[in-house]
């Protein structure tokens, strides 16, 4: 068990743990659903209402679910 945990930890630092990914998936599903019904990209407040989370927490979840090698810069590559 220790080994499995270590493996999970190494591969999934706290920032991209499973529950964080699940939250991000939930947000992405809400975004797609609203896009279809509204015919445009939903705003953050519309998504917040749909998933029952605060806007700031959605921002946090989206950031946390991003892999270290994301679109962000050019910085220190």
């Amino acid at each position: 068990i220790g080994e499995i945990r270590r493996f999970l930890r190494d591969d999934n630092p706290v920032k991209v743990s499973r529950s964080v990914k699940e939250t991000a998936n939930k947000i992405n599903r809400a975004r797609e659903k609203l896009s279809a019904s509204l015919g445009r990209d939903p705003t953050i407040s519309e998504i917040a209402k749909e998933v029952g989370m605060e806007r700031e927490e959605i921002v946090n979840a989206m950031e946390a679910s991003q892999l270290p090698t994301s679109i962000y810069e050019t910085l220190y590559q």
Binding site: I27, R31, L38, G39, R40, D41, P42, T43, I44, S45, I47, R55, E56, I58, V59, N60, M62, E63, I71, Y72, E73, T74, L75, Y76
Partner: protein, 148 residues
Amino acid sequence: MKLKNKMSIEILSLPENVALARVTVAAFAAQLDFTLEDLEEIKVAVSEAVSNSLIHGYASKTDCMVGINAVIYDNDVLEVEIKDNGVGIADIQQAMQPAYSTTPERMGLGFSFMQSFMDSVQVDSAPGQGTTVKLTKKPSKTVDKQDN
């Protein structure tokens, strides 16, 4: 223009604080009616500006401070100012040109990203005086707000 909300954050010039700066600004910007894509764009622009302060302004010294002021105005414009007290820029126009970089291995696209992702980018800088980059962005009108 009247101010609806404001916040400021000061971070130590450590690379790991770039993510902190961008998530803080995005969480603040989320008080306006931006889309997730808008917020991603704001995050990229803030990351580029803060990274520039760390890499160029402070030459990667990690004991300096970067200040970020963010304001939401009455007309729903978000304004973000990223400020360092680093080496400054001699020729701002040249620095902002696509693919221009003073560091050979860099792509020189930071300012281009800021310009394409934000409504306006204003740079105030002089050698030895530090650099302030002011970014603005306003949510595009949603269908609902146009009342149809």
